[in-house]
């Protein structure tokens, strides 16, 4: 009795502490953005953000972001919808490995993908060298349209996965029932397939929108070149280059944050009302009736072209640029060299230092994030009580708000004059930023592992005489360790190539691989920057694919 009372108290204290930590790490920095944007020159000015917005320049930036978001929704739809159809209805669906290949564009950091496209399309770039006749295309590419293409090619896998899932479920019994009830193909499509698909699509479209307006990598590389400014790139500009204007950056951040939260809110409303549990009780039984063989061919060609554009071109450009002796000579075998890699990896070079800095910072951040995230996930349990749901919401916030906004909030908080902990401008600050940005991964992985554990397993542990500590060690821990490992690997890979946090937070004269790539690409040796990109992306992509393969294997054995 006494024992269980102690345990309850421990649990309550753990929850309170979790709330406090989350408050300090995530909620206060975000609140700080709103506070600072209405608190100007030592006094409260409720109209300050509105005034900033009314400034036509700012309004233009907001509209530019929104327009970009809308266009990228269109772009990803055009790419993902046919793909989803092909992958559900043709023989290609049997090639499970394609699932992993289609994640590559999404896993490629957007700034590196954009650099690949720039190298490919720019004047005397690889397109011009490979097909001189298409040189005109390169010029046309450096426009708003090109930016939409790049971002769509980065984000389409996301929409594809949602659409594919919906199509798979609809294509089973839902459509068969309609067929037997006498509905011809078009009628079935109009009355059953399209409405059900639309609910999944609406959700995916809103997520694509949020991801687009929150994205930093493409605007800061490609967008800058064509002079298309969006909110993220403007915020970066006001913080990092002269004349520095923190007030404007903060106001913009608050606008961006509000927009994202608004879309998330609408999305959750729509989600609750118009998404349907399409999961049936039994496994989906696909009819063996197959469509014509020309469809398989057409589908295969489409998949090939899409992969060529979304994986082939950017990666080809990056690898080619990293192995070039002289840029002027272009693509030729006698212009091939691995010198950049040698220089990059030589001891004590600035590049090697940057790489090492990246690795140890990510290692530290991912280790801390795993323990923190696991703690949150265990406290959240099955999110039954209101406090647990609040912890759940807070711990996942960094995934829903734009990274740059959170970074601005962290700067505002830790750089404020009243902050007693002198963390700002140290490595500690960088680690803290990474932890805050990426703690949701561990929370999600561990939570999903945790919710799969039947409570009776713990009850059984108690009945057979296990003390709480013993049950934790022998029952809970072994079952959530795969989730922790996944969270750790994910955090490590994402943190090791994180650009926006590193650009804004790193102490002066310190570089990570991401900022090194960025600096070399902007005004240095492109081949060195691209060699670094190959190494950092190669390393992390291999890790991510490993993770995916591990995960799917586990799912298979678990089911």
């Amino acid at each position: 009795m006494n024992n269980s009372l102690q345990q309850r108290q421990l649990k309550i204290w753990s929850m309170v502490l979790a709330l406090l930590v989350l408050g300090l790490l995530i909620v206060v920095p975000l609140a700080e953005i709103f506070i600072q944007s209405v608190y100007r020159d030592g006094q409260l000015q409720w109209s300050a953000p509105l005034r900033t917005l009314a400034n036509s320049e700012m309004m233009g930036v907001l509209l530019a972001s929104i327009w970009l978001g809308v266009c990228v929704i269109l772009g990803t739809t055009v790419l993902a919808l046919p793909l989803a159809w092909v992958m559900v209805n043709t023989r290609l669906s049997r090639w499970r490995w394609l699932e992993i290949v289609f994640l590559i564009p999404f896993m490629t950091p957007p700034y590196i993908g954009s650099m690949g496209w720039i190298l490919f399309m720019q004047k005397s770039g690889y397109l011009e060298q490979l097909a001189p006749g298409l040189a005109g295309l390169g010029g046309a590419f450096f426009s708003f349209g090109g930016m939409v293409v790049i971002m769509s090619l980065h984000l389409y896998p996301f929409l594809y996965l949602l659409l594919r899932g919906a199509l798979e479920r609809i294509g089973g019994n839902m459509e068969e029932a309609a067929a037997i009830m006498g509905a011809p193909f078009m009628y079935r499509f109009r009355r059953v397939v399209a409405p059900l698909l639309l609910s999944a699509f609406g959700m995916g479209a809103m997520l694509v929108f949020v991801k687009t307006i929150a994205e930093f990598g493409t605007p800061v590389t490609f967008g800058k070149r064509i002079g298309y400014e969006v909110m993220t790139s403007e915020i970066h500009k006001y913080i990092s280059s002269w004349p520095i204007d923190f007030g404007k950056a903060t106001s913009l951040s608050s606008v961006l944050l509000t927009t994202c939260l608004l879309v998330w809110y609408v999305q959750s409303l729509v989600n609750r009302k118009h998404t349907y549990g399409l999961v049936g009780g039994k496994g989906i039984r696909r009819s063996s009736m197959s469509s014509g063989s020309w469809l398989h061919w057409a589908g295969g060609i489409y998949v090939f072209l899409l992969l060529l554009a979304s994986v082939g071109i950017p990666y080809f450009s990056i690898v080619a640029a990293s192995t070039m002796k002289l840029r002027g000579v272009g693509l030729a075998w006698n212009n091939f060299t691995l010198d950049s890699y040698k220089e990059l990896l030589s001891w004590n070079s600035p590049s090697m230092k940057a790489l090492q800095t990246s690795l140890w910072l990510s290692l530290a951040a991912s280790t801390i994030a795993v323990f923190l995230g696991t703690w949150f996930a265990v406290v959240i349990e099955r999110s039954r009580s209101r406090v647990q749901r609040t912890i759940d919401l807070f711990s996942l916030l960094p995934n829903t708000v734009p990274g740059i906004v959170l970074v601005v909030g962290l700067i505002l908080l830790w750089n404020s004059p009243w902050m007693p902990i002198p963390l700002y401008n140290t490595y500690g600050m960088v680690i803290l930023t990474y932890v805050v940005l990426f703690v949701p991964y561990t929370v999600q992985y561990v939570k999903s592992a945790f919710t799969q554990i039947d409570p009776s397993l713990f009850h059984a542990g108690q009945v057979f005489g296990g003390t709480p500590g013993y049950i934790f060690r022998r029952v809970l821990l072994p079952l959530i360790i795969p989730g922790m490992l996944a969270g750790w690997m994910m955090t490590f890979t994402i943190a090791s190539r994180e650009l926006v946090g590193s650009l804004l937070i790193l102490p002066p004269s310190v570089k990570t691989s991401a900022t090194y790539i960025y600096a070399q690409f902007e005004q240095g040796q492109v081949s060195l920057g691209m060699a670094m990109a190959v190494i950092s992306v190669g390393l992390t992509t291999v890790l991510l694919i490993l993770l995916e393969v591990m995960g799917s294997k586990r799912r298979r054995t678990a089911s």
């Binding site: 309609a178 067929a179 009830m181 011809p184 409405p195 049936g280 009819s287």
Partner: protein
């Protein structure tokens, strides 16, 4: 207008799901395909519905050829109704729209409302027509699925294990109700199940399947009393086997006293286990005549270890003919 299946077979990736099969489903009858999971009964149902294409054979309904080498009628032109295992109600449509779907899809304009309300009235869901499927209980969803299948007055209604998603109490209730409705509306029904109680109690005709083959077709009584195949005898009801495995009898035919005027067999046996199930005792016996223990019913408790003599009327012993061996030998592995 009977459904005629001639030489229909189907394999999935080299795995024979249905061996060449001939069957006749009579109009106005309640026919059940009964068998364990993986026996090919659902495959046969889906072939009839047109959701799968047979490898060989033909399917015709009365004069109309539904499937043959030369001709294939797509599912939406076959004019059947179907109740799915997981109901497959469209989540974005109201109950009314779900039921009206078949009427609208086939281009009917008039009288839709009356027809839908009539179907909903039959399944006692009047007043629920504006609800969405997720606002209904499992039993109510089942009723909507039924109403949807019969609203178009189909020539044949297919049932794909419709009761397996319900809990036990609801299942019994729905079983009686569906039997009643099918009879009352004069429907021709083809029902797939692995539950022998459903099959025996609902059907006019039972078709027992195993490993992609039809083992026996007949009235429920016939299937129970004169099984043609050991699998049928074991799968349906309890069976006690005599030496050699060629003759069997049902537990209820055992007497502890000889009936006068009957030709009886008597066996000496020892009681090995007794379990009380409420209305009787189920007694397991070890008889010298048999390799496997026997199960018999007894009105009073017997002590374990007691030696008893039991009597069995000669006409209650059922001999199976020995031509079945080939079937069990090429039994495929379960899916």
């Amino acid at each position: 207008m009977d459904l005629n299946i001639r030489g229909v077979s189907k394999s999935f990736g080299g795995n024979m799901a249905l061996h060449p099969t001939d069957l006749i489903i009579r109009q106005g009858k309640f026919t059940t395909l009964l068998g364990p999971s993986g026996c090919g009964k659902t495959t046969l149902l889906r072939l009839i519905a047109g959701l799968e294409r047979p490898d060989t054979g033909s399917i015709s309904f009365g004069e109309e050829m539904l499937y043959s080498e030369a001709r294939e009628v797509p599912p939406h032109r076959r004019g059947f109704g179907m109740v799915f295992q997981d109901f497959a109600l469209w989540p974005h449509m109201t109950v009314f729209e779900n039921v009206a779907f078949g009427l609208r899809a086939t281009g009917r304009k008039n009288g839709i409302r009356d027809r839908v309300m009539e179907a909903l009235g039959k399944v006692k869901l009047s007043g629920m027509e504006q609800r969405y499927p997720h606002q209904l209980s499992g039993g109510q969803q089942q009723r909507v699925a039924f109403a949807r299948a019969v609203a178009t007055q189909p020539k044949l209604v297919l049932f794909d294990e419709p009761l397996s998603a319900l809990d036990a109490v609801l299942r019994d209730e729905m079983r009686l109700e569906m039997t009643y409705l099918v009879r009352e509306m004069g429907l021709t029904a083809l029902y797939v199940t692995h539950d022998q109680i459903e099959a025996m109690s609902m059907s006019d005709e039972v078709i027992v399947m195993h490993s992609g083959q039809v083992l026996q077709q007949g009235a429920p009584e016939e299937i129970y009393n004169q099984p043609k195949h050991p699998f049928v005898a074991r799968f349906i009801g309890k069976s006690n086997w005599l030496k050699g495995g060629q003759s069997m009898f049902r537990p209820e035919h055992i007497r502890f006293q000889p009936q006068p005027g009957e030709e009886v067999q008597s066996y000496a046996a020892a009681v090995t286990q007794v379990s009380y199930v409420g209305d009787r005792y189920e007694v397991r016996l070890k008889a010298d005549e048999a390799a496997e223990p026997w199960l018999v019913y007894c009105p009073e408790r017997l002590k374990e270890g007691t030696e008893v003599t039991i009597y069995l009327a000669q006409h209650c012993i059922h001999r199976l003919n020995g031509s079945y061996h080939s079937i069990q030998e090429n039994e495929p592995k379960g899916k």
